[in-house]
Symmetry: C2
Subunit: 149 residues, 2 copies
């Protein structure tokens, strides 16, 4: 979650990150890609490809789903968003700006997914890797719960 109430300003640094990545790969920064990035940054939690497409189109620009999927992959490569597979077979994504915790509390009755922060997990993850002699690259923690029973 970005700090201040001036939400639009998150866009700038990430835009820079994305453009740098594109340039490094000899790729282009097109209006479609810019709009997908801007759109994606407005989502609070998890979102899927269709949500991106719909939201981008709301802003006047017409993008094809092909372009959305292609851009989503670029955004993943650039480290801007992360893919999260829940139990549906549809891919969901979340922005991983800065060092956002990718831990989730998933409410089984509503399907709602709340982003949570569990700092201890980093240490646990590192300990697990040390024990197995491998290098930690990341982790994912999902808690499943219900409101009622």
């Amino acid at each position: 979650m970005p700090p201040d109430a001036g939400e639009p300003s998150i866009i700038e640094p990430l835009c820079a990150v994305f453009r740098r990545k594109l340039r490094a790969e000899g790729l282009k920064y097109t209006p479609e890609r810019a709009q997908v990035l801007a759109t994606v940054l407005e989502f609070e939690g998890l979102f899927d490809a269709e949500a991106i497409t719909a939201s981008v189109r709301t802003s006047g620009l017409r993008v094809s789903k092909a372009t959305v999927y292609r851009t989503v992959r670029l955004l993943q490569d650039a480290g801007v968003i992360q893919r999260v597979m829940l139990d549906r077979e549809q891919a969901l994504y979340q922005v991983v700006y800065g060092r956002a915790p990718s831990d989730l509390l998933i409410l089984l009755d509503t399907g709602e997914a709340i982003q949570i922060s569990v700092p201890e997990l980093a240490a646990i993850r590192d300990a697990v890797c040390a024990r197995h002699g491998v290098l930690p690259q990341g982790h994912r923690f999902q808690v499943f719960a219900t409101r009622n029973a």
Copy 2:
């Protein structure tokens, strides 16, 4: 594959669990279902629908993938196996007999997934749920790592 030190006997209690579940729902215990169950119990880690189909067919019985998918759903409902979505879009499953820890160490370079046990997570999960006023139903912890860099 089960070590011969008495492992094959896991089948019996689980078979009982499954049959009970089926009977409770007015469903039938067919050879196909029995063989899918038996096959699934021989996998050590994660497996997908295709692996089940192939393995069942090796044992002489010819099952369609439709039946495999239908049985897999039943096994999930019965609490015998659990679906695990990793980053591929194919569903993977694992047996959750007894109280197997569903925590995983995933090696990014090989794609290998090692089952690990992190007992502290249960407490962390419960604390998270308590803080959000919801009832814990389960959790999932995935550590991503590499062997090299």
